[in-house]
Amino acid sequence: MKEDLVLPSPRETAEGAAREPLLDVSGLTKHFPVKGGFPIRRTVGHVQAVDGVDLTVHVGESFGLVGESGCGKSTTGRLITRLLEPTSGTISYRGQDISRASRKELAPIRSEIQMIFQDPYSSLNPRQTVGKIISNPMEINGIEPEGGREKRVRELLEIVGLNPEHFNRFPHEFSGGQRQRIGVARALALEPKLIVADEPVSALDVSIQAQVVNLLQKVQKELGIAFLFIAHDLAVVRHFSQRVAVMYLGKIIEVGDRDSIYTRPRHPYTHALLSAVPEVNLSDEDTGGRERIRLAGDVPSPISPPSGCRFRTRCWKAQDKCATEEPPLIQISGNRAGHLTACHFPEEPTIEARDEDIVLDPALAALEESED
């Protein structure tokens, strides 16, 4: 994931800098202690929520992070915004290492990295008016925009598609989609360079979800803000992100440009994820369809993840090597530059239907056997 790292001087302008790294994360790790025992409570283990994640987000780019629940994608987002302290690893923002920075050192950077949360109900203070919620970040950072904060709040409300007259209302007077717009306005208040969006649309209804996705896309394109877009919905991520990383049990197992990940995936888990998305086939002719892979069981516990490759316990290609040797995240021959996969025995780069479905679930296999 670490491409040739030419760190830009902080003052360099964004002009012509599509490949300029804005955020560079390497070896990021977060282990949460598990306490237990009696009578003296002590640490009996660690939840390895994030275990050695490397990723780079470029200026103005939208980077998607997908994975199932418990894979560490939200923890990664919170580590990057320094809402959680990393166990080890470095986070550098515009070349400056912020992984150990103190509160004081962080203050100027905090305004450039903002966050949008999943739940629009719990992420807004019910006792503050919308105007107060949106102007709070400006107050804390001592920013006096031209024409005053109130004018700026009205502007922001207009950008996110809300009525500027509503700045005196309270959050409960708005619907879920409107609240999420307030969250977006708050994130935009400080003119950030990077927004970490943690499942920003998954709590919303489909018709409302599209409104918010379009709004975020507009914000990203028009204001040139880089996004780290965290979601479990592969279709939404595909729609929003130029580059996508797939996480499994605290590690990135495949990363690449959108096209590579969605049409030429190499990691068996990426194949399984894509094949599991229920799809509406709208075309009249039967298009052969996609491959069908049904894994067995659930994701293993991150307290004691499998040795070697973490996916091996659910993988149909696993061999002895997978248990002993952890596959490195590398570019497999035939892949595009930047498309990295961590697998010893990668799959063919296609998502077309196979001659034989892969059904690992024992109950399913038994039922389907008896039908034949």
Binding site: V206, G297, D298
Partner: protein, 354 residues
């Protein structure tokens, strides 16, 4: 709501293969803010062994309808009008004791969140065995063996030992499997699945959906499958009913509704849904506005405040004044003419869907 003297669509009289038929169902709740009309003149039929997918956004009345079928609403605050016939037996006026005989026996339900739907106090095996003992008069021993058998069938590894576990010792996917085992233990004729996979991860969801389909084939159960995800519906259902603001707006087979949808709301749903094979240059087309409050539902067509095709209707006022009716068969509740629906979909909607 406009007073509907004529009931909205009278589906053909219950045929031989009809398992459940709902006729002109109205459900309303008394709340502090007023009366919420959660379901408004809904009629549908479910044939034996088939799957009816009910799709709609939150608050469209899809869950309420099915809670009413099982009589799980609170009668103190709820008014139910209309008919629910399960194999000819009227359920809306049935006594509690009669309903108790049906629940878990002839009609079973799978809920969205298995952790809150399972009791934390009893072992999984005991919870599965209980309805079997109650309805079939089986002995404790026989019921336990049956529970173990069912757990094996839904793919719990080592079912003999795992039956002694408590729900918290199961993972999310396994809990949902246990729920399915519990629902199918008495071999019900009707299974109501209310968003059974919404809380699960995609890879687990795919396993559970396939499992439900395979088990349905084996048991011949009729399923009502409630979801907000059109992808899941396309995968599971034989027939689809699209609900909006407490009523059905379109119905038909899966192919009919997804490949030649007729109602502007269905078009909106398809347009706003990101798909893996969609054209990336085309932005999503959200439905403008928000779903209506059911305290004061809009007059006429409930979708008219958000509809962008109103001006194509010959007498525009009709959308505001007259609630369009939905027939018993393939059709949609919209004032546009059949010809208009067809041409608008082919010329304006379909190209965008790619």
């Amino acid at each position: 709501m406009t007073t509907l003297t004529k009931e909205a669509g009278t589906p053909s009289p219950a045929g031989a293969g009809t398992l459940l038929s709902v006729r002109d169902l109205h459900v309303s709740f008394k709340t502090e803010d007023g009366i919420v009309k959660a379901v408004n003149g809904l009629s549908f039929d479910l044939q034996r062994g088939r799957t009816l997918g009910i799709v709609g956004e939150s608050g469209s009345g899809k869950s309420v309808t099915n809670l009413t079928v099982l009589g799980l609403h609170n009668p103190q605050f709820t008014t139910v009008e209309g008919e629910i016939l399960l194999e000819g037996q009227e359920l809306t006026t049935a006594r509690e004791s009669e309903l108790e005989k049906l629940r878990g026996n002839k009609v079973a339900m799978i809920f969205q969140d298995p952790l809150t739907a399972l009791s934390p106090y009893y072992t999984v095996g005991r919870q599965i065995a209980e309805p079997y003992m109650k309805h079939n008069g089986a002995s404790k021993r026989a019921a336990w063996d049956r529970a173990v058998e069912m757990l094996g069938k839904v793919g719990i590894p080592n079912p003999k030992e795992r039956a002694k576990d408590y729900p918290h010792q199961f993972s999310g996917g396994m809990r949902q499997r246990a729920m399915i085992a519990m629902a199918l233990v008495c071999d019900p004729d009707l299974l109501i699945a209310d968003e059974p996979t919404t809380a699960l991860d995609v890879t687990v969801q795919a396993q559970i959906l396939d499992l439900l389909k395979d088990l349905q084939q084996e048991f011949g159960t009729g399923i009502i499958f409630i979801t907000h995800d059109l992808g899941v519906i396309a995968d599971m259902a034989d027939d689809i009913m699209v609900m909006y603001a407490g009523g059905a707006v379109e119905r038909g087979t899966v192919d009919e509704v997804l490949r030649s949808p007729q109602h502007p709301y269905t078009w909106g749903l398809l347009n706003s849904m990101p798909r893996l094979d969609a054209d990336l240059d085309a932005p999503l087309e959200p439905i403008p506005g928000a779903p209506p409050s059911l305290l004061t539902p809009p007059s006429g067509c409930p979708f008219h405040p958000r509809c962008t095709f109103q001006d194509r209707v010959e007498f525009r006022d009709r959308c505001v004044d007259v609630r369009p009716l939905l027939g018993p068969d393939r059709g949609s509740a919209c004032h546009l003419t059949a010809e208009q629906k067809r041409t608008i979909f082919i010329e304006e909607i379909k190209p965008r869907l790619g």
